[in-house]
């Protein structure tokens, strides 16, 4: 394939990865920023989203868009509620102690993964996309008659992939509005700034924590519902998003939402482009190397603020 069309294809693939990654990582970043909890089970909430999306769509017959629409609304709420329950019953009981929450979320990871294995089974199952048209992309080159348009072999995307990018962008704008324009956003930011002071002002910090943990998991589930018609729902699918989310959150700056989004786009696009031109393994190596460099030279992350 020629360089130009090749690069376009790689960027499109990278953009889909980036969109889904941004949603997942923002969830992780939110939980860390507000609650100071390193949620190792985040990837499993992602997986749970995909599996529940399969379950909801297979329960609802009719046009694929109907089941998918219901899943897109219902599944993040279900996963969010599950996470909120986990917060109230587990994380709250150990007083959000940083070391113990890591161990506890590892436990949650295994519980969710093994329960899924026991009920949903070890198979990968597909979800039909609500719409999916192959869109061939034209390319231009200088030929004998000047600028010519042609349709390179393989240079295409699908309407659904573009839809995923659009939907992810819309949700991210929604999260931003929630944080800066609503009361609950204000409470979250206040809790993030100073938990003690927020308590003193009568903010129900524990309830805020449960809500934040639920929203964080819900965002991961939303990302999974969007990606599941492209990939398939499988009980081990939570590993990669977790690793990439941590990479993104560390590069972007722990707790910084704009930093997370920028880092997600950076990692997603570079992952797409490097995997296409070289190999997916090299893409992972470079991303991990970037994390190491950030930790050495700018430990607070690209957009993070140094602790006073």
């Amino acid at each position: 394939m020629d360089f130009g069309p090749y690069l376009i294809l790689a960027s499109l693939e990278g953009a889909v990865t980036a969109a889904v990654l941004a949603l997942t990582a923002v969830g992780l970043s939110l939980v860390f920023g507000v609650m100071r909890v390193v949620n190792v089970a985040h990837g499993e909430f992602f997986m749970l989203g995909a599996v529940l999306a399969w379950w909801v769509t297979s329960m609802i017959g009719g046009h694929p868009a109907l089941g998918f629409g219901v899943a897109l609304v219902l599944v993040p709420v279900l996963v969010g509620l599950t996470a909120a329950v986990a917060d109230v019953t587990i994380l709250k009981r150990i007083n959000y102690d940083p070391e113990r929450t890591i161990i506890a979320t590892i436990g949650i990871l295994y519980i969710i993964q093994q329960l899924t294995l026991m009920t949903y089974g070890p198979d990968a199952r597909p979800v039909t996309p609500p719409f999916n048209t192959r869109l061939a992309i034209p390319w231009f080159e200088f030929g004998e008659n000047g600028l010519q348009m042609y349709w390179p072999w393989g240079l295409s995307t699908t309407s659904y992939k573009l839809g995923v990018i659009g939907a992810a962008a819309a949700v991210l704008v929604g999260v931003w509005l929630l944080m800066v324009r609503t009361k609950i956003g204000l409470l979250m930011r206040a809790t993030q700034l100073d938990r003690e002071m927020a308590l003193a002002f009568g903010i129900p910090v524990e309830r805020v924590y449960a809500i934040v943990f639920g929203i964080g998991a819900g965002l991961a589930a939303m990302a999974a519902v969007l990606i599941v018609p492209i990939q398939q729902a499988h009980y081990l699918m939570g590993g990669d998003p977790l690793l990439l989310s941590f990479i993104v959150v560390i590069i972007g700056g722990l707790g910084s939402l704009p930093g997370t989004v920028v880092a997600a786009v950076l990692i997603g696009l570079s992952d797409g482009i490097i995997s296409v031109f070289f190999s997916p393994t090299l893409a992972k190596i470079l991303a991990t190397l970037l994390v190491a460099l950030v930790l050495v030279f700018r430990p607070q992350g690209l957009f993070g603020v140094k602790d006073a």
């Binding site: 394939m1 090749y6 294809l9 790689a10 693939e13 990865t17 294995l117 089974g121 070890p122 198979d123 990968a124 597909p126 039909t128 999916n132 192959r134 061939a136 072999w153 393989g154 295409s156 699908t158 492209i230 990939q231 398939q232 499988h234 081990l236 699918m237 990669d240 797409g272 995997s275 296409v276 997916p280 393994t281």
Partner: protein, 431 residues
């Protein structure tokens, strides 16, 4: 020494009922063991079944399990092996080589299994076989990998139920070069099984005057594939694909989306769509493309009585799906290997007069002595020829074309098409 004397229980209604129920349960179980009582020992023959319940091989594991259970039921209904019932001890290996070796160890030392059996994924076989050799546990794999016949493993590892990749691709290459094209791009999973495809198909197509333009290796745990396809050279005439793992449906779907309406000829190993419904949305582009099948998934017009019997025993319908759930598609091209291997174990044990673990060496020698396996209820996929020196069986292969959303066999290769010179003589190794 004192002995506890049980206080006699009063004859209450409840106790009487209990006794009657117990007696009924006991008498119900009598015919089962009584059937095998004529043997010197009624101890069951224990077959350790290394099954991919979880991990990337889970879909195969589910069907290998069903096939194995159906074969064991058929064997036991017909009187067992040497008059003894067969018992399957299944252990999940997580499709993981390290766990595989541990499972082999459990079979030999904890479960006191007579033999180990049933592994599919080549990396698990390669990880487990050395331990089986050390423990002198006969290890019957159903894996397709060339590692048995290549001499990489040991005298205790045998593959009598399914042909190996080298034999399969050698039989396929003339058809591909003659009917589809000579410039081939190969897409295969990046582990031992895929490397067998890479090495032996490349050699086989070159022997037919063709060439492989590009080798595209994909990790079997990969979940998105579009990024690999731009590496397909423009002058490719035939795409040769073989994929395994949980995301095979995504793989084939994304290949269709990549090419759109104008794709080169496509020849796939059905591995890329094992346990996947051919009618899944996004697979329409496969119409008229070709697949290798180890055993035809769809019942063919010339279906043998043996295939009919075998399908019914496992509970598979004429479309290769479960009778109880038509959306549960089987791994029909591979799982016959479990059925046929169990019958070979039976033949070997009967020829060796197998009594117990002390006779494991005799069992190996008896299986090595087997040559012809006629097309029968025991070998429903077709007649086979076993090579005792290389521990590998040879049999027919099927090439099918997708027509109207089902697979129709268009060519059947002979046993000779898949034969190659011996690379090892395991019989020279000590027992």
């Amino acid at each position: 020494m004192t002995k506890d004397i049980k206080t006699p229980v009063g004859t209450s209604r409840r106790n009487v009922l209990k006794t009657i129920a117990g007696g009924a349960a006991a008498s119900a179980s009598i015919p089962l063991w009584a059937r095998f009582a004529q043997a010197q020992t009624s101890e069951p023959i224990r077959i350790g079944f290394q099954v991919h319940r979880t991990g990337i091989g889970a879909a195969y594991g589910r069907w290998y399990d069903r096939t194995t259970m159906a074969a064991v039921k058929a064997i036991n209904d017909a009187g067992g092996i040497n008059g003894r019932p067969v018992e399957i001890i299944a252990e999940d290996d997580g499709t993981d080589p390290k766990r595989g070796a541990e499972v082999i160890e459990k079979f030999a030392t904890q479960h006191k299994a007579d033999v180990g059996f049933g592994t599919l994924f080549s990396h698990v076989v390669i990880g487990s076989a050395p331990r089986a050799g050390e423990l002198k546990l006969p290890y019957f794999v159903v894996s397709e990998g060339h590692h048995v016949a290549s001499g990489m493993l040991n005298r205790y590892t045998l593959q009598p139920g399914i042909t190996d990749v080298k034999s399969q691709v050698q039989a396929m290459a003339p058809y591909v070069a003659g009917n589809l094209g000579k410039k081939v791009t190969m897409i295969f999973p990046d582990f031992a099984f895929g490397h067998d495809h890479r090495d032996y198909f490349t050699a086989a197509i070159e022997a037919q005057g063709g060439e492989v333009l590009a080798h595209i290796a994909i990790p079997p745990t990969e979940t998105s594939f579009t990024k690999y396809f731009p590496k397909i050279p423009r002058d490719t005439e035939v795409i040769y694909h073989v994929m395994v793992g949980p995301a095979v449906l995504t793989f084939v779907k994304e290949m269709g989306e990549f090419f759109g309406p104008s794709h080169p000829a496509i020849f796939g190993f059905i591995d890329s769509l094992e346990a996947v419904d051919l009618g899944s949305p996004g697979l329409e582009f496969l119409e008229n493309t070709y697949f290798w099948e180890g055993n035809p998934r769809y019942a063919q017009p010339d279906q043998s009585a043996f295939d009919k019997n075998y399908r019914a025993a496992i509970g598979v319908d004429n479309n290769g799906a479960s009778i109880s759930d038509p959306s549960d598609v089987s791994t029909y091209a591979h799982m016959f290997g479990c059925w046929e291997t169990l019958y070979t174990i039976k033949d070997g044990m009967e020829a060796a007069g197998y009594q117990g673990p002390a006779d494991r060496g005799k069992l190996i020698e008896a299986v090595e002595a087997i040559t012809d396996m006629p097309h029968s209820n025991e070998h429903p996929q077709g007649a086979k020829l076993f090579n005792g020196k290389t521990h590998q069986v040879f049999g027919p292969q099927y090439i099918s074309q997708v027509k109207g959303g089902r697979l129709d066999v268009v060519h059947t290769t002979s046993i000779e098409d898949g034969q190659y010179p011996d690379e090892v003589d395991y019989t020279k190794q000590a027992l």
